[in-house]
């Protein structure tokens, strides 16, 4: 068996079989992480560079941990404090790093398509750790893994993505993935934050009423309001957003069933999600982070084994 791709640029390029292989390999790595020694020698002598042109806590630490658990050698690069600040281009930076013999590149960049651009120009395997407002494939994979872990499967499950759909790469990757794996997807939020033709374009349901969306779903994946990507006023205030679209305990208590609450982090407490919901037992936010390491180990392992 083999993945159909050499890079992980987005969920869009993966086949359902690729996704199944990644998720089942992640299950085995989750087992590894519960052993006495949580490390395997699979990627010994593989050099990985983590190129982070954009801030990140979870993703960067998660990738770093996954790489270390696989015994890979790693270099961390953050844009601030590097020559990128002096005006070196992305391709030049990467080519310079590659001339030091690097096998894989984990890239986060604020420009959508940056990893696709690199994949065309360099021989190393590229893993997209989030590119602008395009995709964040490993987040979608770990979300799917967490849903599968909690509910047994993805097929036929109803998942609603709530909030800032327009600026969210997590949303786009999740929609692609869940559609491919046979889940039903809905997006919910204020009309200003939901792209106009998303329903027709991506085959998802659109709902502007949060209560109705929550009543419909099995799982609610609450997305962060990305103020740093908004250059115009799309809602009047954070407080108003919270009143209309914040997931609160009161709303959840009013439902007939207990739904699963997810959030890709970082959380804006009291904006898209209230503290008592984020910390409740319905929420699997911290399990998502835990699963992230196993899923990233699976991706790195599977791509390191794919010859060019």
């Amino acid at each position: 068996m083999q993945l159909s791709t050499k890079h992980l640029l987005g969920i869009k390029d993966l086949t359902p079989q690729d996704i199944s292989i990644i998720l089942s390999t992640a299950t085995e790595f989750k087992g590894v992480l519960q052993r006495q020694v949580k490390k395997v020698p699979s990627l010994r002598d593989v050099m990985i560079v983590n190129l982070f042109y954009e801030n990140s806590t979870r993703t960067r630490i998660s990738f770093e941990l996954a790489e270390k658990r696989l015994s890979a050698d790693i270099i961390n690069f953050t844009a601030s404090g590097s020559s990128a600040a002096k005006g070196e281009t992305l391709l030049d930076t990467v080519n310079n790093i590659l001339s030091m013999k690097v096998d894989m590149v984990v890239l986060r960049h604020s420009a959508s398509g940056a990893p696709h651009f690199l994949a065309k120009h360099i021989p190393a395997a590229i893993i997209n750790a989030g590119d602008g407002i395009n995709e964040h494939p490993t987040q979608a994979l770990l979300d799917a893994f967490s849903i599968q872990d909690k509910l047994g499967s993805l097929e036929g499950k109803k998942i609603v993505l709530i909030g800032d759909i327009m600026h969210s790469r997590v949303a786009l990757s999740n929609i692609y993935l869940l559609n491919k794996m046979g889940a039903e997807v809905m997006v919910a939020g204020p009309p200003t934050l939901i792209p106009k033709y998303i329903g027709e374009a991506l085959g998802v349901k659109v709902e502007y009423n949060l209560k109705k969306a929550l009543e419909w779903c099995d799982v609610a994946n609450v997305l962060r309001i990305q103020l740093e990507r908004q250059n115009q006023v799309l809602f009047s205030s954070l407080r108003e957003y919270n009143l209309a679209y914040g997931v609160s305990k009161k709303l959840l208590d009013g439902l007939k069933k207990e739904i699963v609450i997810m959030h890709p982090g970082p959380i804006n407490r009291g904006v898209e999600i209230d503290s008592d919901v984020a910390d409740s037992k319905q929420s699997i936010i911290l399990q998502q982070v835990e699963n992230g390491v196993a899923v990233r180990m699976a991706v790195l392992y599977l791509l390191s084994g794919t010859k060019a």
Binding site: Q2, Q36, V37, S304, G305, T306
Partner: protein, 169 residues
């Protein structure tokens, strides 16, 4: 194609191996059995079933181990992992590794590496159904062997579980 062990011989051999294991380990409290994924597990299932019929069954500790992540050829070919289930500590125990065919010895090397990550066993022993004794690439020998055969590298030895036979191709 040549049949090395037919159905009757296969079951007799496994039953003999079970008796040999018990002969050497009268007290199974300090012994754990570990079958190697994917192909060794069928042998180890039968073997452990046999041992459990000869010894208080609940005292026989049995796990399965997948060595995919420890292979030395993972960059040549992509291997998809199978399940690992070792629900007990191997610290200070005698571990009996069970596989179907011992060939180059590389799987066993990887298994020894993998075992270390579960603790430090007192002793590790190797039990195989078939030993292709002249094809070793590493200094590894079995402690218990169902049948030793002489083969060349171009040949293939396979346990056909539908027919319950060991076949040389």
């Amino acid at each position: 194609m040549k049949i090395i062990l037919d159905k009757q011989q296969l079951h007799l051999t496994i039953s003999r191996l079970a008796h040999q294991l018990l002969e050497n380990h009268l007290n199974l409290n300090e012994v754990v059995f570990i079958g190697l994924q994917p192909r060794g597990v069928k042998v180890s299932n039968l073997l452990v079933e046999n041992i459990r019929s000869l010894y208080p069954a609940e005292k026989v500790q049995y796990g399965i181990l997948d060595i995919t992540f420890y292979r030395d050829d993972i960059r040549d070919e992509l291997h998809v992992a199978s399940k690992t289930d070792v629900p007990f500590s191997i610290e200070g125990k005698t571990v009996i590794l069970i596989d179907d065919v011992l060939y180059t010895g590389r799987t066993i090397r990887a298994a020894l590496d993998a075992l270390q990550d579960f603790g430090r066993p007192n002793k590790v022993e190797l039990c195989v159904l078939v030993d292709r004794r002249f094809n070793r690439e590493l200094p590894i020998q079995p402690d218990y062997c169902g049948k030793a055969i002489d083969t060349v590298t171009s040949q293939k030895v396979k346990v056909e579980w539908e027919r319950e036979e060991v076949v040389l191709y």
